[in-house]
């Protein structure tokens, strides 16, 4: 019987925790940005669209470095956070969450935006003639009718976070028990002469976690579809 060592279990749990928090952190900003890009026309729309997609084309290490400049202990915002609230994101698992959230943001925005664009505005008009304010219309009509986009975006962000390496190692560091998620642990093991067997175990584990996460999301999607029929 294949059992997990306490260290392996810690790595898996940390990875899942970081990925789940990444999705939660992204949910509101991604929905807001997707709505803005899908439904509003304004000056600078194309520029904002490009900025949102930047993490998809930039090397993750570059983004990690940019995060370090902004949010690092001596960064522009990071130094203020540390002085005012004693919050330090580098070498902390929240740093790993932020790094993977930045990488996953465009994926989530794209998925939700496409779903929002498929919602027929005629339903929103009907809701408004029934007395619904734009806010009520959004939460009772637009969002429920684009739930599949939110779900797909969440799955993409979760998977992206599970596999995130470059930005995390640059910004959050590779600290055992704190920021060493599955990809970072595999990388660390491949750097040591006797680590091949342990690395292989983590690789298999990584595949298993991803498959289970995908199956769980498919199950969730089926349940949601059934509840809406």
């Amino acid at each position: 019987m294949w059992t997990l060592s306490p260290a392996e279990l810690d790595i898996v749990l940390l990875s899942l925790k970081v990925a789940a928090c990444c999705v939660l952190v992204l949910l509101l900003p991604a929905i807001a940005m997707a709505w803005l890009l899908a439904r509003k026309r304004f000056w600078g729309h194309a520029l904002l669209d490009a900025l949102v997609h930047l993490p998809m084309v930039l090397p993750p290490v570059v983004l990690g470095y940019m995060l370090l400049v902004l949010l690092g202990r001596r960064g522009w915002i990071g130094s203020w956070l540390y002085e005012q609230f004693h919050i330090q994101l580098t070498f902390h698992w929240w740093g790993a969450v932020i790094a993977s959230a930045v990488m996953a943001f465009p994926l989530m925005v794209r998925a939700i935006r496409q779903a929002l664009m498929q919602v027929n505005p005629m339903f929103e008009q009907a809701a408004q003639t029934l007395g619904a304010t734009p806010v009520k219309t959004f939460f009772t009509i637009t969002l429920p009718l684009s739930y599949h986009g939110v779900l797909t975006g969440g799955i993409l962000a979760f998977s992206r976070s599970l596999g995130e390496f470059g930005a995390t190692i640059t910004f959050a560091g590779n600290l055992e028990g704190e920021t060493r998620t599955l990809p970072l642990a595999i990388y660390s093991l491949t750097q040591s002469p006797e680590g091949d067997a342990a690395a292989l175990r983590l690789v298999i584990l990584s595949v298993l976690v991803s498959v289970v996460a995908l199956l769980a999301s498919q199950w969730l999607e089926r349940r949601l579809i059934r509840s809406q029929r």
């Binding site: 005629m122 408004q128 003639t129 007395g131 734009p134 009772t140 029929r229």
Partner: protein, 217 residues
């Protein structure tokens, strides 16, 4: 009394740009029919009254309440205008049950028109738990009428509510519409391109052509 006196400029209309002028008074319990060919601006007129489009000039008044006044720059948003708009395609919310659709526009406080009465008149009791995808065309329109009524409207706007139905279904739904108008005594605007249908429902029929409302011959 519900009064409309508006001009609508539609530069981006689907067929061709047009200017539309509409002026009428609608007392409670009276149904005004408006007939006209497709693209003549019937839906535009109803959407302007509901606040989904902005007229270029004029006044819309419901009793003492001013919904639109171009000169005074008053324009209530659609959610502040108590209209019961029945769309051509019903537009039932697909993710909600029939009952949730019916309750959507219902005010939380005292309601003049109540759910059991509407359900009874439109004979939709057995449909309450169903989703719109499980309804026939005629059933969908009956639910859409019920939903519009439960909004507690001060005017009922019907935009070709039978256009998607075959003749047999039309004959089934028409009596419900007549009964609704008779029971609730709301000023009603009934719009259609089918003359017989309008004549059967309305007390008075106007035709809309070249942007003008005229007495039907």
């Amino acid at each position: 009394m519900f009064s409309v006196d508006i001009q609508i400029h539609q530069p981006y209309a689907a067929t061709s740009p047009f200017d539309l002028q509409a002026r009428f008074d609608l007392p409670a319990g009276r149904c005004l029919g408006i007939m006209g060919a497709s693209g003549c601006g019937k839906t535009t007129l109803l959407h302007s009254i509901a606040g989904l489009l902005m007229p270029s000039a004029g006044v819309i008044r419901s009793g003492d309440s001013l919904w639109f006044d171009h000169k005074q720059a008053i324009q209530l948003p659609p959610w502040q205008r108590p209209v019961g708009l029945v769309f051509q395609d019903g537009r039932l919310f697909p993710h909600m049950s029939v009952e949730q659709n019916l309750r959507y526009g219902m005010p939380a406080d005292l309601a003049r028109i109540v759910l059991p009465e509407v359900v009874d008149i439109l004979a939709i009791q057995s449909l309450l738990k169903r989703k719109p995808s499980q309804l026939s065309g005629g059933e969908k329109q009956r639910v859409a009428i019920g939903r519009a009524l439960l909004r507690q409207p001060s005017v009922l706007l019907m935009d070709e509510p039978l256009s998607g139905l075959d003749d047999q279904l039309k004959q089934q739904v028409l009596p419900y519409i007549k009964q609704v108008i008779a029971t609730f005594g709301l000023p009603t605007l009934y719009v259609s391109h089918v003359g017989d249908e309008v004549a059967e429902v309305a007390d008075e029929v106007l035709t809309l052509a070249q942007g003008q409302l005229r007495q039907a011959k």
